[in-house]
């Protein structure tokens, strides 16, 4: 029985020694050893370490993971006097555990200090930045990159110097306008759309008109070409007819002349014509005188 008692005592002492004289540093932390409360030795690499038992050496664990924080969004005034709501985020990790411990003690303390630093830097930088440069479709826009870069750098410099913290990123996350300004933006957007719609409609009308005009022109061309062809056909036909007449009449021009004259007489006189005929007219030769004296010789070829 006494043996068992001593065995248990020894096991108990071993466990106590193990707990008191070793320290496990996990992947996500830095352990600071303090000798009589004075921090002196940060253990940054994870693993198992030996130390003097408390109360000679005690440990303080510092979270050395990346901390992401998202300060509340704030309204800022840009260099071109535009109100804009900016939402930032911040990522950081402990770099100098001793300094971190001395300046802010823990992550919660660091967060509030970093919030203050970040918001002050954003305020300064945005005050020197044109909103029109921050959001623009100008090619090669780099303002937003530069602003983010600058916020990161300035925040990082202050954090490193004062808090023992390394800032990985401090960036603008979201931009928006406060209510009144937003209404103005919406009105401008509407005006822009109206203009675009107007342009599109005008263009549609113009193109339609073009099609109509071209149609008119082509129609006129078709008709006038047909008319010109018709004139040509008529002209050729007239020429042909003339040639046919000439060819026929050319065979006996003298008879044509006689015949044509008779035809002309037939047209010249009508029922209104008053004929005054003397007795001596050859027309009346057989009637009033003995015939044979003077009927005209219409042609001298007999």
């Amino acid at each position: 029985m006494r043996k068992l008692f001593w065995t248990l005592i020894i096991i108990g002492l071993l466990i106590a020694a193990w707990l008191g004289c070793t320290v496990q540093v996990a992947e996500w932390e830095t352990v600071i050893l303090t000798r009589f409360g004075d921090p002196h030795d940060p253990l940054e690499e994870p693993g198992l370490y030996f130390k003097l038992p408390p109360p000679i050496e005690t440990t303080i664990r510092i979270d050395r993971r990346v901390q992401i924080q998202d300060p509340p969004s704030q309204e800022y005034l840009t260099a071109d006097k535009k109100n804009v709501i900016v939402d930032c985020f911040l990522a950081w990790e402990v770099r100098d555990a001793i300094q971190f411990l001395k300046s802010v003690r823990n992550v919660q303390g660091a967060r509030s200090r970093l919030n203050d630093i970040l918001l002050a830097e954003v305020n300064t930088i945005l005050g020197e930045t044109q909103l029109s440069a921050l959001i623009t479709t100008e090619p090669g826009n780099v303002t937003m990159r530069q602003v983010n870069e600058e916020i990161t750098q300035r925040t990082a410099a202050k954090a490193q110097e004062n808090l023992g913290v390394r800032v990985l990123a401090a960036k603008i996350k979201r931009l928006n306008f406060p209510g009144d300004n937003k209404t103005a933006v919406f009105r401008r957007m509407e005006a822009e759309r109206e203009k675009i719609a107007q342009e599109i409609r005008s263009q549609g009308f113009a193109e339609a008109q073009k099609i109509r005009n071209q149609t008119e022109r082509e129609a006129a061309a078709i008709v006038s070409e047909a008319q010109s062809a018709a004139e040509r056909i008529r002209g050729e036909a007239d020429a042909e007819a003339t040639r046919v007449y000439a060819e026929a009449f050319e065979k006996d021009p003298e008879f044509y002349e006689f015949l044509r004259a008779l035809e002309a007489y037939g047209k010249m006189f009508d029922e209104n014509t008053l004929w005054v005929i003397p007795h001596s007219s050859p027309l009346l030769e057989g009637l009033l005188r003995k015939p044979g004296a003077g009927l005209p010789k219409a042609n001298g070829d007999d």
Binding site: V66, I172, Q198, G204, I222, I233, A237
Partner: protein, 312 residues
């Protein structure tokens, strides 16, 4: 004491000790499922990453194994919250609205897809957010920062239409850069724009632009219709003009031929008996026109001159 009780006194602690040792040993036996990887830590330090199957480690408290589902594609909404989406609550303006170049506002919802590519980093590198959210939500913050910059460089029309594909591709690589910077241990698989719309306040004006396109098209279609109707009509008219000319030509030439034939026939006939024929023609004509009109025959041989007064 008997031999038996001596044996028992010796055996019981041995059996107990073996039992405790076996139980202790089982704390170093793990099963990693098919879709998982295991991260083994020794005294809190990451020692190795192990693959699916039965895995052995040193027993507690020396080694530990944490399992992470690495094949699963996870999602992270940007521009809205999944919880709100499920409950049908519309996203807040500050969630869904983004500023585009030329100071326009667009509403955009995105869905990021990612897998855990570095289980050790994923488990141990990034702390939970102050809000208590898991480090996964840092992906959303990195994404928002990149998207605010990228959308801020685009015209709203690009964000709403042709620029989406390029935005998705650019955003994917740039967000991945930020993820590397924050050491989140994940890899983006895709950035999907789920919705991109003009804000409700100005949607009417945007729709009117679409209507304007339709109006323009309708104008053109009508003009085309006019063209399709007009040109054949005009071609028919042109054909009519030409046909009429052809008719005129035919008639004119045929008439000339007829007259020529008649003349030739008469000339031939007259040649056969010139005097009589001519006399007949002449008399027929004179007869025809003397038969019309008033006639006065006077004696030109008389002593008294003949007087006639004509009044009109």
């Amino acid at each position: 004491m008997s031999d038996r009780s001596k044996l028992l006194r010796f055996l019981v602690p041995i059996v107990l000790l073996i039992g405790v040792a076996v139980w202790w040993g089982t704390t170093g036996v793990w099963v990693v499922q098919q879709d998982e990887q295991g991260v083994v830590t020794r005294f809190g330090k990451v020692d190795r990453v192990v693959q699916p199957g039965m895995q052995f480690t040193l027993p507690a408290p020396f080694e530990r194994l944490e399992r992470v589902r690495t094949t699963e594609v996870r999602i992270m909404p940007v521009g809205y919250k999944l919880r709100d989406d499920v409950l049908g609550i519309p996203p807040l303006a500050e969630e869904i609205q983004w500023l585009t170049g030329n100071t326009n506002i667009v509403e955009m919802k995105l869905m990021l897809q990612y897998v855990i590519s570095d289980p050790a980093r994923y488990l141990f590198r990034v702390a939970d957010l102050p809000s208590g959210e898991s480090p996964d939500f840092a992906i959303r913050k990195a994404a928002e920062s990149v998207l605010t910059r990228l959308v801020g460089e685009m015209a709203i029309d690009d964000v709403l239409s042709i620029g989406k594909a390029k935005l998705q591709a650019t955003a994917r690589s740039e967000i991945q850069e930020q993820i590397e910077l924050l050491q989140l241990g994940v890899t983006l698989v895709a950035v999907n724009i789920l919705e991109a719309n003009p804000p409700a306040e100005v949607r009417g004006a945007f729709n009117d632009v679409i209507n304007a396109y339709a109006d323009g098209e309708r104008q053109k279609t009508q003009a085309d219709g006019y063209r399709r109707k007009t040109l054949p009509g005009e071609r028919a008219r042109a054909d009519q003009i030409e046909q009429e000319a052809q008719i005129y030509a035919k008639e004119r030439i045929e008439a000339a031929k007829g007259v020529a034939a008649r003349f030739a026939a008469m000339a031939t006939e007259v040649k056969a008996a010139p005097r009589v024929s001519r006399l007949r023609l002449w008399l027929e004509t004179v007869e025809a026109f003397l038969a019309r009109g008033e006639r006065i025959v006077y004696d030109d041989t008389a002593e008294q001159p003949f007087r006639l007064r004509v009044t009109k």
